[in-house]
């Protein structure tokens, strides 16, 4: 096993350009699971980003919040301004694992890992996050809802690193986060939802679901349904839109039927009283 340990982002990009099969490493809370049993993984080369100080910074600009690539869930939980302006970040952060995971796990790592069950990604997506991808040849910004191209596949080139995540400062008049897991902590999501509505913007619904498709996913049909103002009287009235947006499966944690049914019920009960079309 080889480990490369850059001190700056420039160094890291240089290394990635030379060796595109490097595996970038931040909090390591995914990589090290069952590490001794995964001897094959020991024979690879890793790029340890943990000491690249410039990636740690969390910044507020005039119109954005910028999370560094190494910003952890706990970092955000400590930020009072994030609590009031991006409450869903707090909601999801406090339900990731437990404090031992929140202290090490990074938002960027959650994106890069690409799990369909990722808990950080849905709320970032619901806040219209963009991912900055940096390489030796420069940086580019990709909206998070266009980042994934398939199951654990993304637009990130092997020589690129996620260097930051930014979200526009906006007024939201509605936000809710649901994580349905097998227990209240240390749970992998069976079905999750992050929902925001931008104030004074009728087309401002963002409905993001995890664990119900090959990737974390915006739900355009459901957003359309809400925007349309069509009356919704029971959870089942969401079924067609759900079937169009997501493809839940039976797996070790839950069933497709459960996921579909619960998703409809959560949507219905959460949005009652908020969306004028739901009674």
């Amino acid at each position: 096993m080889n480990v490369l340990m850059p001190n700056t982002l420039a160094e890291a990009c240089e290394l990635c350009a030379k060796q595109p099969d490097l595996i970038p490493l931040a909090g390591a809370t995914d990589l090290l699971v069952h590490w001794p049993l995964r001897q094959v993984e020991h024979d690879k080369t890793y790029l340890d980003l943990s000491k690249v100080g410039e990636l740690r910074k969390m910044t507020w600009t005039a119109d954005t919040i910028v999370l560094g690539a190494l910003t952890t869930y706990w970092d955000v939980l400590q930020d009072l301004r994030a609590k009031s302006e991006f409450p869903l970040l707090m909601e999801s952060a406090r339900q990731v694992g437990a404090i031992q995971i929140q202290s090490r796990g990074t938002w960027a790592g959650n994106i890069a890992n690409g799990s369909p069950a990722a808990d950080g990604v849905p709320v970032l997506m619901a806040y219209d996050a963009s991912v900055t991808l940096t390489s030796k040849s420069g940086s580019r910004s990709v909206p998070l809802h266009e980042y994934y191209t398939g199951y654990r596949k993304s637009v990130r080139r092997p020589d690129e690193l996620i260097s930051s995540i930014s979200m526009p400062l906006r007024k939201y008049d509605y936000s809710v986060f649901h994580k349905v897991g097998a227990r209240r902590a240390q749970a992998i999501t069976k079905i999750g939802l992050a929902i925001t509505r931008e104030a004074s913007a009728p087309s401002g619904w963002r409905i993001v679901a995890n664990s119900v498709a090959a990737t974390v996913k915006r739900c355009p049909a459901i957003e359309q349904l809400l925007q349309s103002g069509l009356p919704i009287r029971r959870p089942e009235d969401f079924s067609t839109a759900i079937a169009s947006d997501v493809t839940p499966i039976d797996d070790i944690r839950s069933t497709a039927d459960y996921r579909r049914t619960v998703m409809a019920r959560l949507l219905y009960h959460s949005l009652r009283g908020t969306a004028a079309s739901i009674s």
Binding site: L25, V33, H34, R184
Partner: protein
Amino acid sequence: MPRNGSIAIRFSLNGRDIEISIDPTERLLDTLRYRLNLPGSKEGCGEGECGACTVIVDDLPANSCLVPTFQVRGCKVRTIESIPTSSLQPMLETGATQCGACTPGVVVTANWIKEHSGVLASHTMRALMAGNLCRCTGYDGIIDGLEKWIGTPNGGRP
């Protein structure tokens, strides 16, 4: 146990600066238990679920089974061995330990909460302790012990 290390790292361990050579495949848990003769931190699952391996890294609880040792270079690490036994009486009195396998991890997290009790303004004790699984106590002995240790009730009743 890995014999010849191939990365030299320096960090602060339980208040002392040390320099050691490690194999890149070592987890902090392995280094503590098999290289540094600090077997207080336990391996219960190897997947970051049970918390029996909990240590403090740069002033925050972490599962040492998920920390590559090379990542603690330049960090401050504190293990169960750094907590004075004399301070543990309140936990003893409430039955916070039975078989003891989860206990070092429990005590490390509980001690951290005690030292950062402001966090209880936004988190319940039960939520903060949820990364430390216990199969013997049913948790009451632990939560009661932490409340007694801190001197504040916050058992996390809904």
